[in-house]
């Protein structure tokens, strides 16, 4: 089983940091990660970190958001840790299915996308910090035509 050293990026709660996150993931994904898993990691980390940046802090509070990526064989593990207000995305209710465009609610899709594109998602609150772990599993079967 191959294993790369974990890589860690620390971000501030500033929307401009999302670009830095995207570039960092792109660099990690160049090390033998499939395009499907790379897309899923980019999407889930974008959603998770954007949520912390936009809703995790009280007014003017500075947050530290640490992101780690680690690959173990066919599994890629992403950990996101922040010192913002307590929030467990695994307990968020699923979005309401809209029956028409007029009735469709705007928003509340980020966590649903994370649940759908990650293979697993776990949360714990420890020592005043949110710790979210996302797992992505490389498919061993050939990509469909």
């Amino acid at each position: 089983m191959s294993s790369l050293d974990p890589r860690r990026l620390v971000l501030r709660n500033d929307v401009a940091e999302l670009q830095r996150l995207a570039g960092w993931i792109e660099g990690f994904a160049q090390h033998g990660i499939s395009s499907d898993v790379s897309f899923a990691v980019q999407l889930c980390l974008e959603e998770a970190v954007a949520n912390i940046i936009m809703y995790g802090a009280a007014r003017d509070e500075r947050l530290e958001i640490a992101v780690e990526l680690e690959r173990n064989g066919a599994t890629l593990v992403a950990r996101i840790e922040d010192n913002g207000r307590q929030f467990d995305p695994t307990r968020a209710p699923p979005p309401v299915v809209a029956t028409s465009l007029e009735k469709a609610k705007v928003g509340d899709l980020g966590i649903h996308l994370m649940r759908s594109f990650a293979s697993g998602m776990d949360y714990e609150r420890r020592e005043g910090r949110n710790r979210l772990t996302l797992r992505f599993i490389e498919s061993t079967s050939p990509a469909p035509e």
Partner: protein, 139 residues
């Protein structure tokens, strides 16, 4: 009276720092052109993430408030996050509220998967060719 777009392009481009990996550029383009039948085609290009969506929101909303038949070409969008979906959904709702329609053209595989997972394919029609998209707007 609504002025014709003929062809209008808006580009938002910013460069990211390279200290944590390869230099990353976040770039998104929007262009709009008039097609026969009173249809406006909006071509989006780049990464429709939070950063791109924040920048595209105003020019996109301007178009959807002025036009009634809109094709949004996503064939050159390589990434879509929830804020991008939000911009598309708000746009489609605005057009619908004015008696018009907005359809999506040719998203790539991963972008189509995001749209489907979010349930957008049931709310905003998705077409694979411009001919089919235009026909849906003029039927």
């Amino acid at each position: 009276m609504v002025s014709p777009f003929r062809r209008e392009a808006i580009t938002a481009m910013t460069a990211g720092a390279g200290a944590d990996g390869p230099s990353h550029r976040c770039c998104m383009d929007l262009s709009a052109e008039d097609l026969p039948g009173g249809i406006t085609k909006v071509v989006l290009q780049g990464r429709f993430d939070t950063t791109g969506a924040v920048v595209m929101e105003l020019p996109f909303n301007k178009i959807v408030t002025e036009r009634r038949k809109i094709i949004v070409d996503l064939s050159a969008v390589n990434f879509l996050a929830s804020y991008g979906i939000r911009v598309l959904l708000v746009g489609a709702k605005i057009v619908k509220s004015k008696g018009g329609n907005l359809v999506i053209l040719c998203p790539d595989n991963n972008v189509a998967k995001v749209l489907k997972t979010a349930g957008m394919d049931a709310l905003i029609p998705i077409h694979q060719t411009e001919t089919a998209a235009a026909a849906a707007l003029t039927s």
